[in-house]
Amino acid sequence: MAKVLVIGEQLNGALSAATPKVVACAQALNPESIDVALFGAGDLAGAAEAAAKFAGVGKVLTVSNPANEHPLAAVLAPQIEALISEGGYTHVLASSSTTGKDVLPRVAAKLGVTQVTDIMAVHGANSFTRPTYAGNALVTVEVPEGQIVLGTVRGASWQAAEEGGSGAVESRELGVELPSHTRFVSQETSKSDRPDLQTAPKVVSGGRGVGSEENFKVIFSLADKLGAAVGASRAAVDAGYVPNEMQVGQTGKIIAPELYVAVGISGAIQHLAGIKDAGTIVAINKDEEAPIFEIADVGLVGDLFEVLPALEKELS
């Protein structure tokens, strides 16, 4: 039977929204046990309590260490390896967040296995479906029998795990030597009171058609009216209209809101890769031939600078 270790994530002591989805994937393995590891520098009690509540979680292992203040892969990897070897896990799952994607392959290489990236579905203890070619070909793969499974979990494919558990919280001191060759310098995060792009039920995204950083205010304004998060195409980010963390797509965030409104976005396959799981896609574009209309549930051909103000008016 499977013994799963989930690499949890926390920010400022709160459990990240990605972790419940990783736990859901772990639950789908019908395992004997699920443990969740949490790394940080400060008090991890709040995040640990939240993680302990998911159904099936046996233990939450907290590793508090000043070196873990910022998640550096080279620093986390040896600690994860230590937890794996003492816990005898058959499966280790992390989120397909930038942290998970950074660290898990580093652990996999040390263990001599290839990782299963972006798990979309579980068909058994060693059979998984994952996307390739920007989500245009879904491959079901089997991990060789008897081999430890390391995988990252594609958040947009999973609902947050069911609660109903009461796991134990244990703090761990790991006597492993940590490298000093990788050092955190600084972080730039744009503060916003808007909903989080990755979990918001509604998202409004702007593309190159918006034309400038200044013009992007029409996108923010519509989003605020709808209570939506704001996203963007790569072209809009490249042009400097908005920061990188707002990029949606193959190499940006992969999201599954109930409502996605694409404004001035043409609909390149790399962008669509990020919104395939959205409930309803609305496209507003002045080019009636734009490929986004081929997949949008509702399309409106028009100039966004006329459509958006009119839309806001109708909404109030």
Binding site: A73, A77, T98, K101, D102, P105, R106, A108, A109, K110, G112, V113, T114, T117, P131, T132, Y133, A134, G135, N136, A137, L138, V139, T140, V141, E142, V143, P144, H181, T182, V185, S186, Q187, E188, T189, Q198, K202, L226, V237, D238, N244, E245, T251, K253, L259, I269, Q270, K276, G279, I281, V282, E288, F293, D297, V298, G299, L300, V307, E314, L315
Partner: protein, 248 residues
């Protein structure tokens, strides 16, 4: 300092790939092949380091079929000094590719290896981190800015929260993200000149690389196609429809 860059031959990013009806994979016959877009960015970054006097030699590496010479020629035409083809007709997974890079690192002793953050065919995003692990050296993934400062480098990374800057000691592995730079266009005279540049070839056996246990692909399928809906004629129709669906 030598810089090794990865050059994977992949289906061009503009191609809409077709899944084979028998579920055995993706049709690649007669399909346009190119340098993985992230690898073009990696090459460009190495070339800029060379022009800035931070690197002496840029070596392009591809692991793949003989046809991957085409992609190496592109790298040479962009300005790489020489190329290495590790020839194999097998499709190799990231861990084996990382082992090949590790063997070449042992031979060439580079100060930096720059790979793409992911190959757009397998979308695995593992090779750079795996190489860093096998080499026991730092990794800076998803890089959008790199500054070499003597024996170390300052790298800005695109992370979910925004931008993070880390400092890594060299030698190290960097994985290139989209906004690291804009790769140059290759000009015709450069293509001619590149024909004279050397491409060394190796086999896995020569490098002593053992193929890692692979994930077994059981079935490949196309995702459920999204049915395009319809167009509405006006803003009020749009609002009515969204209200109808209970979305606003």
């Amino acid at each position: 300092m030598k810089v090794l860059v990865g050059v994977k031959r992949v289906v061009d990013y503009n191609v809409r790939v077709q899944v084979k009806p028998d579920g055995s994979g993706v049709a690649t016959e007669g399909v346009k092949m190119s340098v993985n877009p992230f690898d073009e960015i990696a090459i460009e970054e190495a070339l800029r380091m060379k022009s800035a006097g931070k690197a002496d030699e840029v070596i392009a590496v591809s692991i793949g079929p003989q046809a991957a010479q085409e992609q190496l020629r592109t790298a040479l035409a962009m300005g790489a000094d020489r190329a290495i083809l590790v020839e194999t007709d097998q499709t190799l997974e990231p861990l084996t590719v990382a082992r090949v890079f590790k063997a070449l690192v042992d031979q060439e002793q580079p100060g930096l290896v720059i790979l793409g953050k992911q190959a757009i065919d397998d979308d695995a995003g593992q090779t750079p981190q795996m190489l860093a692990a096998l080499w026991d050296r730092p990794q800076a993934t998803f890089a959008s800015k790199v500054e070499i400062e003597g024996e170390s480098a300052k790298v800005t990374r695109e992370v979910d929260l925004g931008l993070e800057t880390i400092e890594i000691d060299l030698p190290a592995v960097i994985s290139a993200d989209l906004r690291l730079n804009e790769p140059r266009y290759v000009k015709l005279p450069d293509i001619m000149k590149a024909k004279k540049k050397p491409i060394g070839t190796h086999t896995l056996e020569e490098l002593g690389v053992e193929i890692a246990p692979a994930l077994k692909p059981v079935k490949t399928e196309a995702p459920q196609a999204r049915q395009g809906g319809h167009k509405v004629e006006s803003v009020s129709e749009l609002v009515a429809e969204l209200k109808n669906k209970g979305l606003i």
